[in-house]
Symmetry: C2
Subunit: 128 residues, 2 copies
């Protein structure tokens, strides 16, 4: 992986703003505003490469867009669908115990935990 202009710039932006959760589109917009010439495709490529290299994590909150996390370590997230925002939940506040054995031939890769939050007092329809 070569230290190209774009990759270095994006990495710099991410480090400066860490810890955070960012979408490709968001990072793309910020880069453009910062005068960094980069294409959306390259932002996608770069984020994927960083993630694959273990520099970032991926937070899955729904079908739709992907969120990338500057903190690749295992931790739990709040996700507010109404705002699209993701927050970290301090480590070791949440405890998960007694995970069962995975099926034969399989190992646990990682455990994703997302705490979905919503505004209080909404008429709480099941699908809300």
């Amino acid at each position: 992986m070569r230290p190209t202009r774009q990759r270095l710039s994006l990495l710099g932006m991410l480090i400066e703003t860490a810890p955070r959760h960012v979408t490709a589109e968001e990072l793309f917009q910020e880069a453009r505003q910062a005068g960094i010439p980069v294409s959306l495709a390259t932002v996608y490529n770069t984020l994927n490469q960083f993630t694959q290299a273990g520099l970032m994590g991926e937070v899955v909150v729904g079908s739709g867009q992907s969120y990338f996390d500057t903190d690749p370590s295992s931790h739990v997230h709040y996700f507010d669908k109404s705002t699209g925002e993701i927050y970290d939940i301090p480590r070791d506040v949440v405890t998960i115990t007694d995970l069962p054995e995975p099926p034969p031939g399989k190992v646990i890769d990682r455990v994703d935990v997302v705490v979905r939050i919503k505004n209080v007092c909404k008429a709480d329809a099941p699908g809300d």
Copy 2:
């Protein structure tokens, strides 16, 4: 919500095969094969309506496609990315404790837990 031919048929198929996790595309194919005249759009609409009505759950495992669960109650899933399969993990095997308070004005909607599994012995690259 009217008990139309399509909705009744799809509900029947889901009940017969429950418990299971199904994508819209899968259910659509099965319905066609079973001779039920239904369109993909209607399958999507119907699954969304059932979910919204609390009859089904939605399992989020990645940006991409949505899985619908005939069991709407809160439980934990295994997800095997290599096969795209989702399994239930028996209730009360996994225990989550000490969830923190949500931000002011927010309440916890639900907690999604996905245990990602993969094949053993793969050269374990971080992004694997």
